[in-house]
């Protein structure tokens, strides 16, 4: 169906890309404030993508264009081949899930179980499938003991997991996580880290917006860097973190271990290490081979 909307874009396209954004612009409706100027992005199915940048760089606007909370002022956004402009947020929610930064903005049901069932019920999932999906999520997120609790009675880290789980039960093929580790301690961050990994392994496309460089370094395959309403870099974490000029101009900092690697093993041909383990392994192999 190549029906064209009034903007001239086909309503649906044949593609195996999860996300295809072409020359998207976004201007706030009430003023002349530009949030996005000419963004292009292609995300393949099953990719684990990180989006970084300062507040105001446009990263949240970009993700909201993806799930149709916002409509591009110009340009096109295709999610699973469907043009977002021609659809509602609710329709898109069957394809792309959005986990809000603050779980308190999402949770309102009487029990955690109700919370997990809310999403799939809204999009018309058959009851048996809902039950199965919820059971899987409870297992995946280890929420067994909290299932009959009121969402606001569980601790904040658990609430955060419930927030993510309540989107996962909708079984979207794409999930956006907005600052999943902000305000979390290391333990919870590690859980979220492994969560994202497992989701991607299951074939879900995961897009993670975050300030947490060590979190991303460890888990994403690709990083999109935004500054001043544009994408200024789109590469692997190693390439991005090794780009000193980029880090400087975006006021971002590579993980400490990467900076160490860049000043030690990298000039010797070693890797741009993303974790202490990786750097340690390289140093060890060098030492074993004898110095130099």
């Amino acid at each position: 169906m190549a029906r064209k909307g009034k903007h001239g874009f086909p309503d649906q396209i044949e593609t195996d890309l999860a996300v295809k954004v072409e020359d998207a612009h976004y201007v706030y409706p009430n003023g002349r404030v530009v949030a996005l100027s000419g963004v292009d992005l292609e995300v393949r199915k099953g990719e684990l993508l990180g989006v970084i940048g300062q507040n105001g760089s446009g990263k949240t606007t970009l993700t909201k264009l993806l799930n149709r909370l916002l409509k591009p002022s110009s340009g096109s956004v295709y999610v699973n081949g469907l043009l977002t402009t021609e659809r509602t947020v609710q329709e898109m929610s069957a394809h792309i899930g959005y986990v809000f930064q603050n779980p308190n903005h999402q949770l309102f049901a009487r029990t955690v179980k109700d919370e997990l069932e809310f999403g799939p019920r809204n999009i018309g999932t058959p009851e048996e499938d809902i039950a199965q999906g919820v059971a899987e999520a409870v297992d995946f997120f280890d929420l067994g003991e909290f299932i009959d609790e009121h969402p606001y009675r569980v601790s904040f880290p658990i609430r955060k997991l419930v927030g993510i789980a309540s989107v996962v039960t909708m079984k979207p093929s794409i999930i956006i996580l907005d600052e999943p580790s902000t305000g979390q301690d290391h333990q919870t961050t590690r859980i979220i880290n492994s969560l994202m990994r497992r989701l991607a392994e299951d074939g879900t496309t995961v897009i993670c917006v975050s300030h947490d460089m060590p979190l991303l370094a460890d888990v994403v395959e690709r990083v999109v860097v935004m500054r001043d309403t544009k994408i200024v870099a789109d590469a692997s974490p190693r390439e991005v973190f090794a780009d000193e000029k980029l880090m400087l101009t975006t006021n971002l900092q590579a993980p400490q271990i990467t900076n160490i690697a860049l000043q030690t093993v990298f000039p010797l041909g070693g890797p741009i290490a993303l974790t202490p383990k990786e750097l340690a392994a390289d140093i060890e192999s060098r030492l074993k081979k004898g110095k130099r």
């Binding site: 300030h211 160490i260 340690a280």
Partner: protein, 286 residues
């Protein structure tokens, strides 16, 4: 022999309506002018520790407290929180939740107004405080229009207007973007190094604490389990990781290599030291 500015003596505290203590047998001393970092998992008692310093715990929140907390020579339990505000200031993790006034100047002046400070002194203090945190000229602006980093600096200014001796910052950067984090951590260092303030920072950003703190306190389940210089504490990599905590990546690196017998020399706690040690290890000429 200088006296400690903060003294905890066998403090136990339980929040009202709960069974397990939030603080359990906490005893510690902090000297004037120290920059102290407090780390621990959420729920370990870091916030409770901070709130105990200005009396919010137990005077405002109730609950059951044993032991004594003395700050600036005053027994915290004996004085109302508003009195303690002249000695201890506290800044929280959500910058927006600390804003209540129409303009930045009024936000800063809030405590001064309640203390009945005269108009001219008040105006001066407000300008000084705003200048100190890098918000010159922001007097008439609305706090809600500021960035997260600016709001947090405004919160610091509001606290500084009371000219406290101790500044507590409870996870001040968790809701901020990287620029905001830099601004706030920079502020903490300036206040400590340039103005000699005693600064206590509860944080997860161990790399920053390793760099700037004089001392690191580790809390777990309401107890103080470690208390010492950053280098000493962070080199106990396995123990900290068993508690679910991070160490600076530089230190973690050394920790791994030490286990396989490959590390030489002391434990690095920042990038420069790690680079130096690794290059020495690899025989790379500087």
């Amino acid at each position: 022999m200088p006296k400690p500015i903060i003294l905890f003596d066998s403090v136990f505290y339980t929040y009202p309506g709960t069974d397990s203590p939030a603080l359990s047998d906490v005893s510690l001393e902090i000297m004037p002018g120290e920059y102290v970092g407090v780390i621990g998992l959420n729920g370990a008692g870091k916030t409770t520790l901070g709130l105990s310093l200005n009396g919010v715990v137990p005077n405002m929140l109730g609950g059951h407290r044993e032991g004594t907390v003395v700050v600036g020579g005053l027994d915290v339990e004996e004085y109302p929180v508003r009195e303690m505000a002249k000695i201890v200031g506290i800044v929280f993790d959500n910058p927006e939740f600390q804003m209540s006034q129409m303009t930045c100047a009024e936000e800063v002046a809030l405590g001064l107004e309640s203390a009945g400070i005269d108009y001219d002194t008040m105006r001066r203090s407000v300008t000084e405080a705003l200048n100190l945190v890098g918000l010159e000229g922001f007097e008439e602006r609305s706090p809600l229009g500021l960035s997260g980093g600016q709001q947090q600096r405004l919160a610091i200014a509001a606290v500084l207007a009371m000219k406290p001796q101790v500044l507590i910052m409870d996870e001040p950067t968790s809701n901020l973007d990287p620029i905001g984090k830099q601004e706030v951590f920079g502020m903490a260092t300036t206040l400590n190094q340039k103005y000699g303030m005693t600064v206590i920072v509860m944080e997860h950003e161990v790399e920053v604490l390793a760099e700037f703190a004089d001392r690191v306190i580790v809390m777990d389940g309401g107890r103080v389990v470690m208390n010492g210089a950053p280098r000493e504490i962070f080199s106990r990599v396995d123990e900290l990781q068993a508690l679910g905590l991070r160490v600076p990546e530089a230190t973690a690196l050394a920790g791994i290599l030490r286990k396989t017998g490959h590390w030489k020399g002391g434990v690095p706690i920042n990038t420069t030291e790690a680079v130096h040690s690794v290059n020495a290890l690899l025989g790379v000429k500087a």
